[in-house]
């Protein structure tokens, strides 16, 4: 029978595409399995991971530990390295056969290549970069109450609605939109790494997880691209503009410049990676090279997180960073102008405070 994505009733279960590279599962997989577990519980259905690769069966149980009831493993030498054609065919063949209601994918460079192709082949809708997912209407209404400025007092919601409600930022993050895919299945969604919370690992659940091999039908003809090489590269340049996290230092590090810069780097790492920046005085004094400068005569940045350590916040500097999404400032002087633009301010000695911040952040991230 031909695959009909409009036959809603025939679809069941929540699938999570589990990406692996070089035999290592991506962190997002655990985050999505954790989130998928919640959704499966709301829906009363199964949570299934779908894992593609070669000799990757051993990775499957770990997915169970975060909440997967079952993991479908598609194993084939042609799946060892990601190609659009192979992965799309294998996933779509399985989806057309097993008819999942929902498929979640991590929005990595690969997920964003794979997701749309699959959605087009399955004749269904895909919503990208979701930051929040709900099936249960009560949960969704609660979410709106805490995260939006909408006046919900006069809004009628169909409380029985079980469509996946996928919320995502639009217009560069200035607007949030909740998207639904009411008339087609599977309902597909990609989620950015680090957005969903990873549940605690449970050995018990891992042991209970069912691992099933799924037959792969792939011929060389199916593959229209050839991977010539895969190269790992660390970024060396000071990419202030592209950075999600910037930790900048100012005059406040003068009593131990090297340590100050080191701490800034470590704090950036504690956030999961970032770039060290500097106010004008650090460049003029030769503590940092000019490409680190944030400010009127340096670069204007708007990262997700900007941490200002020992920076007073003169107009020239503020002009360069005040549009950052979240600003944290540490300064000995509680009247320093930087606190006027900071979301969180700490009055104190950065040499004492930053090590404590590094510890606390590292612990918080590990607890996720």
């Amino acid at each position: 029978m031909a695959f009909n994505s409009a036959d809603i009733g025939a679809f069941k279960d929540i699938w999570v595409f589990c990406e692996q590279r070089n035999g290592v599962l991506m962190n997002t997989d655990f985050e999505l399995i954790s989130e998928g577990r919640k959704l499966a519980d709301e829906r009363g259905s199964q949570l299934v991971g779908i894992l593609l690769g070669h000799n990757v069966e051993g990775l499957a149980k770990e997915l169970g530990g975060y909440g997967a009831d079952k993991v479908i493993v598609c194993d084939d030498p042609q799946l060892e390295v990601y190609t659009t054609d192979a992965y799309t065919k294998v996933i779509c063949d399985a989806a057309m056969d097993l008819k999942p209601e929902v498929i979640l994918l991590g929005a990595s460079n690969i997920g964003r290549d794979l997701g749309p192709r699959c959605a087009a082949r399955l004749n269904t809708g895909l919503t990208a970069d979701c930051t929040h997912l709900d099936i249960d209407m009560d949960n969704y209404v609660n979410f709106l109450e805490t995260s939006s400025t909408l006046d919900l007092s006069n809004t009628k919601f169909d409380m029985e609605d079980v469509n996946l409600k996928m919320t995502r930022p639009a217009f560069g993050g200035h607007l949030m939109a909740t998207i639904i895919c009411p008339r087609f299945r599977p309902c597909m969604s990609t989620v950015r790494p680090g957005v969903m919370k990873k549940a605690p690992f449970s050995q018990e659940m891992a042991d209970k997880c069912v691992v099933e091999a799924y037959p792969v039908t792939l011929t060389a003809d199916d593959l229209k691209t050839e991977v010539l090489d895969v190269v790992k590269e660390a970024k060396q340049i000071v990419d202030l503009i592209g950075a999600d996290v910037i930790v900048s230092v100012g005059r406040g590090i003068s009593k131990d410049i090297q340590k100050g810069i080191e701490l800034a780097g470590q704090l950036a790492d504690a956030f999961g990676g970032g770039v060290v920046g500097g106010s004008r005085v650090t460049i003029d004094s030769g503590w940092l090279s000019a490409d680190h400068q944030v400010g009127q005569t340096g670069k204007t940045v708007h990262p997700k997180v900007y941490v200002a350590l020992g920076i007073s916040g003169a107009i020239q500097h503020k002009a360069g960073m005040q549009d950052s999404e979240l600003i944290i400032a540490v300064n000995k002087d509680e009247t320093a102008p930087i606190f006027e633009v900071a979301d969180y301010g700490i009055t104190g000695d950065l040499f004492k405070v930053v090590p404590l911040m590094i510890e606390a952040l590292t612990a918080a991230r590990a607890s996720k």
Partner: protein
């Protein structure tokens, strides 16, 4: 050889964005620009044109004002332009949009040596879906996140970026490639001669009548009504309030901060 470059006119979301008193976005406050990734896709196409003399066609789906953007691309060096525009196409999601663009390209003609370049994603929707979906609809191999494209005969070698490195991928034409912009990439300027002649270059408008009978168009899956995904609700996040001065400067302070950041999904 012909390269179709799919471009989109978008509001400049990185610039000033005003919010109306009722919390909705003031779209009129935003300048419209050519989507940055698409500009790079055009530049990549023009680089190949410089080397091979191929034909470069700018294609967009949008309302009539999108013509201004197409004229700018013609002034940059594109040879001809196509505007796909119809009331029936308005409000399309990525599935519907990719259908319509695929039908248009099919209608105009895609040869064995031809390629389609797209920007990886648009800064308003940020989905990165239209490119791969056009490739699927037209049955073409795709390579996304392309930083470098080299063509030798019908063989195309692409440097395909990953988060921590890249892949070198080989593909044959006809194919679709999505291009990314990064801090080093820069599209060429329009030239003054280009501006002088851009209104003389071939320009066609494809409306509903022109495309409605194309096999690739599923009439019940286009426009606002036909799109598989719909907007259920849209809202603005609460505005950034005044900052918080945390108490003290000790371990507890750091832990409070970390908890806040965790709650906000910052870490």
């Amino acid at each position: 050889m012909r390269i179709y470059v799919c471009v989109k006119q978008v509001p400049d979301t990185s610039g000033v964005v005003a919010v109306n008193p009722d919390g909705t976005l003031n779209r009129a406050s935003m300048q419209t620009i050519i989507n940055p990734d698409d500009l790079i896709a055009m530049e990549q196409a023009l680089v190949l044109k410089d080397a091979t003399g191929c034909q470069v066609t700018a294609v967009t789906m949008g309302p009539p004002p999108a013509e201004g953007m197409l004229r700018e691309l013609l002034a940059m060096g594109a040879d001809d332009a196509i505007l796909i525009s119809a009331r029936e196409f308005g409000g399309s999601d990525t599935f519907a949009t990719s259908q319509i663009i695929s039908a248009a390209i099919n209608y105009v003609g895609l040869g064995e040596e031809d390629m389609i370049f797209c920007g990886r994603q648009a800064i308003d929707g940020d989905t990165a879906q239209v490119g791969p979906q056009i490739a699927e609809k037209l049955g073409l191999p795709q390579v996304s996140y392309a930083a470098e494209i080299v063509k030798e005969g019908n063989d195309v070698t692409v440097k395909r970026m990953l988060e921590d490195g890249y892949m070198k991928i080989k593909v044959q034409t006809p194919c679709l490639i999505t291009c990314i912009s990064d801090q080093d990439s820069k599209a060429r300027y329009m030239t003054l001669s280009g501006i002088n002649h851009c209104y003389e270059k071939p320009y066609q408008v494809l409306d509903f009548e022109a495309l409605k009978d194309e096999p690739l168009i599923e009439l019940d899956k286009i426009g606002l009504k036909g799109s598989p995904t719909n907007i259920f609700k849209s809202f603005t996040p609460p505005q950034k309030g005044v900052g918080v001065m945390l108490e003290g400067a000790d371990r507890k302070t750091a832990e409070t901060l970390a908890a806040e950041l965790l709650k906000k999904h910052v870490i």
